[in-house]
């Protein structure tokens, strides 16, 4: 937007919303909404506490392991689907189903099978992230130019070599796009998992704040999580744009 010819940066309007939040919070009109400034104060206070850091470490660990598993499974499966018609037709309907299925309904199953701990959270992350990674890797491989595939074959590349040296690299932009989307879904997964398990990580903190009506604490936690989520999404988006640049120069 422009005011008097000045370009006002897009995200600047967040300041307007935060100011509004502060005003409403100060009037005390909404019981559940403490002023933004006191939320930030509280944030500064609770973030360095051991409880918080422990929850953060646990969440971060589950998030990372879950994502690595999702990538480790998702990319090869996606590449396989992109290369083999049979595999594609066998798996695609299921991938599409799980891509849009209400995965929150499956978390209770994971909970009864794997208990109320780390494993469940990790598996929830995998469950949320893996499908889009598969789908995008598949799309990437399908988009590889046939001449590149023929080149690999004519030089007698084994399937494993072709996978590691050709398909993976040629489909890299799409694979990374899938990983980025998977990571965004995984953030939602890790929080949903912890909310449902509610005795580990941030889920536990939410439970404590909630039952003691600690609104400032609660908002401080929400704000921290949102900031992390946004930073992850934007950071990966930035990386992806760099790769896209490489990909477009590659196609010439």
């Amino acid at each position: 937007m422009k005011i008097y010819g000045f370009r006002v940066p897009l995200m600047a309007s967040l300041i307007v919303w935060i100011a509004l939040w502060e005003v409403i919070g100060r009037t005390g009109a909404a019981l559940v909404l403490p002023p933004f400034s006191s939320v930030v104060e509280r944030m500064v206070e609770i973030v360095p506490t051991p409880t918080f850091l422990k929850a953060l470490a646990m969440t971060g660990e589950a998030y990372l392991i879950g994502n690595l598993i999702a990538i480790g499974i998702g990319v090869p499966v996606g590449v396989l689907m992109g290369r083999s018609v049979v595999a594609d037709r066998l798996l695609l309907p299921w991938v599409n189903i799980f891509l849009s299925a209400p995965l929150s309904a499956l978390v209770p199953v994971i909970m009864v099978l794997f208990g109320l701990g780390m494993t469940t959270i990790v598996l929830t992350v995998v469950l949320f992230a893996v499908w889009i990674i598969v789908l995008d890797a598949r799309a990437g491989v399908r988009g590889i130019s046939p001449s590149l595939v023929e080149m690999a074959r004519s030089y007698g590349a084994t399937p494993l070599q072709a996978f590691a040296k050709i398909y993976l690299w040629a489909a890299l932009p799409e694979i990374l796009a899938g990983i980025r989307l998977g990571c965004i879904r995984a953030v939602k997964g890790v929080i949903i998992g912890q909310l449902l398990v509610s005795i580990v990580g941030f889920g536990h903190l939410f439970e404590i704040y909630f039952s003691n009506f600690l609104m400032e604490h609660f908002w401080a936690l929400v704000l921290t999580l949102f900031a992390f989520a946004f930073a992850i999404a934007e950071g990966l988006g930035y990386l992806e744009r760099r790769v896209e640049y490489y990909a477009s120069s590659r196609q010439q």
Partner: protein, 277 residues
């Protein structure tokens, strides 16, 4: 290249008819429908096998689950539970659709609205909105209102952003066409931008519905157990696992049918125009 020659040679040796026939059989074998049935068979057999092993006492086999499913379907408990779950879902989706498309379109046609509203929704799109559910309970209690709002906060961001981007992606030449034939701003919005954006808006609704399902179930598991959420938590608590699994199976099936249904409507609307979302 040298590797090409052998296959060329064999093609010349007159085994063409046999090859063709093999291909026809192979075609049948890899026909999408055959393979879809095959995967269902493989998946459900694996499920059954794992259930019989058993991998865990809390893991009933496919057959057991389906029997529980049939029982619950017969005594009507499943249907009434699904109908209860659908209430906040449909209400929440309707609100999200109206408000979300409205906001998105407003952002698409006005730079100021875009500046003001886009950033919060961009943050929400990336954020784990489920974290706000406890807050909704604080503010609106444990009733239907909180559940409807849960669906809204999950479904709205993607609907808003899709509608906004869809309007923004209206081809510039179509807008110029409208202006050059003396269309008013209202006419250009209603007759050009909205129809042009509709496939992407519709796709946003489909994604919103998927997110809304996640929200509806989460609300029933977190806030108060009702509907399918009640069937899941109750049967879990009394270790009636086949029923628990059947309830989960049914709600996933419902969501798949719901979203597939939306996709069918979408295809029917836009196919004639040669546009698919």
């Amino acid at each position: 290249m040298t590797e090409v020659t052998p296959s060329l040679g064999s093609r010349k040796t007159g085994i063409r008819p046999a090859r063709l026939q093999r291909n026809r059989l192979a075609d049948l074998a890899i026909h999408p429908l055959t393979l879809r049935l095959a995967t269902a068979l493989i998946l459900f057999s694996a499920w059954e096998y794992a259930g019989r092993l058993p991998v865990s006492p809390a893991f009933p086999g496919f057959v057991e689950t389906m029997i529980a499913f049939a029982d619950m379907a017969k005594d009507g408990s499943l249907l009434s539970a699904l109908l209860i779950t659908l209430q906040p879902l449909v209400a929440g989706l309707a609100i999200s659709a109206v408000v979300g498309i409205g906001l998105g379109v407003a952002m698409g046609i006005s730079r100021f609205t875009e500046w003001l509203i886009a950033p919060p929704f961009i943050v929400m799109q990336a954020a784990p909105m489920a974290a706000l559910i406890p807050l909704l309970v604080f503010a609106y209690g444990i009733g239907l209102a909180s559940k409807i709002l849960t669906v809204c906060i999950m479904a709205m961001p993607v609907i808003v952003l899709n509608s906004y981007l869809a309007i923004r992606q209206t081809p510039a030449s179509l807008i110029e066409m409208g202006r050059s034939f003396l269309g008013s701003r209202a006419q250009i919005i209603l007759k050009i931008m909205l129809p042009s954006a509709s496939p992407v808006i519709f796709a946003g609704l489909r994604l919103g519905a998927a997110a809304g399902f996640i929200g509806a179930i989460l609300a029933e598991l977190l806030i108060t157990p009702t509907g399918i959420g009640d069937l899941i938590t109750y049967n879990q608590s009394i270790a009636e696992y086949p029923k628990m699994y059947a309830a989960i199976f049914s709600v996933i099936a419902l969501s798949v049918l719901f979203i597939e249904g939306l996709g069918k409507i979408e295809a029917a609307i836009f196919r004639r125009e040669g546009r698919k979302a």
